[in-house]
């Protein structure tokens, strides 16, 4: 079954064509890696999939449902979650509150003005469970402002996982991490069950290649190579525009 498909996706900002007729099809449970040089349109593709940027043309389908015209919030309710290349968290809150907000986003409780959020034990327990998965449960009460870059990366992933997504978009989850932190995140991603489809943008090929089954290479907003890991890595076009050598 196809979890996520994109057809004929075009987007331009003024005179700059950022994505051009992109087609992508990701099967359920697949681990797909999106690579490409800077400015290839990788993050814009994610923004188009999540609805943060509206396409000029083309369609986005999630489990065969056309979501092209749905706002981002409705896509989240259909099982689409993402992390950001530039960490986007709630800096005034604690780690726990960040994850709780992610959980609350999909809960009808978010409209309730009459109960105390910190007394919703089921939400707090779920938030702790998500933090345990990323190894941050012991820091749950720590203000986000007092956390390291690597911890924030893991909070991003915890927030996405807390939403129990069906399709998870990871935008450079290894960016800026130390070797130890990279190893932690690597094993964390490896532990995500295969009922979650993962599409990942990553530049660090050492960690990314081990993760991916299928790779898509974007260049100037177009898909120029796509296929199984070995095929794409060996393809001369990949070497020319991305890997070098």
């Amino acid at each position: 079954m196809i979890a996520l498909s994109v057809t004929g996706l075009c987007k331009s900002f003024g005179g700059l064509q950022v994505t051009s007729n992109i087609a992508l099809s990701v099967g359920q449970g697949e681990r797909r890696l999106i690579i490409g040089p800077n400015g290839a349109g990788k993050t814009t593709l994610f923004n188009l999939i999540t609805g943060e940027v509206k396409p000029d043309r083309g369609t986005v389908r999630l489990f065969d449902r056309d979501i092209t015209r749905l706002p981002p919030r409705q896509r989240a309710h259909l099982g689409l979650a993402r992390t950001y290349q530039i960490i986007t968290l709630f800096g005034r809150d604690t780690i726990l509150r960040n994850v709780t907000l992610a959980l609350l986003g999909l809960s009808p409780l978010r409209w309730n003005p009459l109960i105390r959020l910190d007394q919703r034990t089921e939400l707090i327990e779920q938030a702790y469970a998500a933090l345990t998965r990323v190894g941050l449960d012991h820091l749950a009460e720590r203000p986000l402002s007092q956390t390291s870059y690597g911890e924030r990366r893991r909070v991003e992933i915890a927030m996405a996982l807390a939403q129990r997504p069906r399709v998870l978009l990871l935008d450079e989850p290894f960016a800026g991490l130390s070797i130890d932190e990279r190893r932690d995140v690597q094993s964390l991603l490896a532990a995500i069950p295969t009922d979650v489809t993962i599409v990942m943008i990553e530049h660090n090929m050492d960690v990314a290649l081990g993760f991916a089954e299928q790779i898509t290479l974007l260049h100037f907003g177009e898909v120029i190579v796509e296929g199984a890991r070995a095929e794409v890595v060996e393809d001369p076009r990949t070497r020319k525009v991305y890997l070098g050598g």
């Binding site: 509150r97 809960s107 978010r110 309730n112």
Partner: protein, 329 residues
Amino acid sequence: MTARKLTLAAALVVLATLPLWLVSAFYINIATQILFWAIAAAALNVLVGYAGLVSLGHAGLFGIAGYVAALLLGAGHGHPVAILAALVATVAASATFAVLSLRSTGIGFLMITLTLGQIVWGVAYRWASLTNGDNGVNVASRPTPFGVDLSSPTSFYYATFATFLLAMAMMAVFVRSPFGASVRGTRDQATRMNTLGYHVWLIRFLAFLFSGLWTGIAGLLFVYYNEFVSPQVLALQSSAEMLLMVIAGGTATLLGPVVGAAIVVIIKNVASAYVERWNLLLGVIFVVIIIFMPEGLLPGLTRLWRTHRRTASTAIAKGSVPISEGPTR
């Protein structure tokens, strides 16, 4: 009991017994004014502090409640009808304000709310056949809830105090609720909230209605207190004063707007008796607060107090301050 709870309990006792030890009706009336302006400032703080939306049109909502009540009372309707209609009208006006102003955030939101507030002021000022123009509208009497006569300063103070307590309780519940967390989330990361599944616009809209409702309640207390309403209360200066109360006291804090309201009302009503240029004094105080405590007076004082305690405990730990040293003879 923590120091914070003790301070709150002491403040409550002071407020509850205020008419017993403030013998002058003048000062009781000042206290009443502080309380209803505190409700208005706290209502505005829902938008400014928690939703990150700075409104300069709330005096319009404040005045709509006053005008609707005054006009209906003048037309011979009873207090319950006037109060209910005033609140319905204020919430409806808040919805209109919200629909128009939430097309934008930041400076755009501020300018749209300012414009809407000025339109309401213009209607009150120029539609003289309805509003009596600059002469305003008189209110013949105050209501008598549960048979309690509110005509005396003391009884009206207690009615305002009860409403103030209800407002503070509602604000405290709101702030700690899941919806309050959603509102704060839209302030901090609106795009992120959207991708997490939140309807950012609707959350802001509902926060605006909640803010408008309490602004209307404060407006009703104002009109019953003065037994009069005129375009002056809808003017930009009123909106600016409300915003000043919020910013001076401390945005996104429950009690900051109360402190801010106290500062503005006291300077406006008490210091103005001694200082001719009281506006200048108010401006200087505001500038000093912004320079030394940009987060507002209440959070600023809390920060200074914590720093002082930390410094003192560090000094004791290092042995630089002899703990047992007696006073110098």
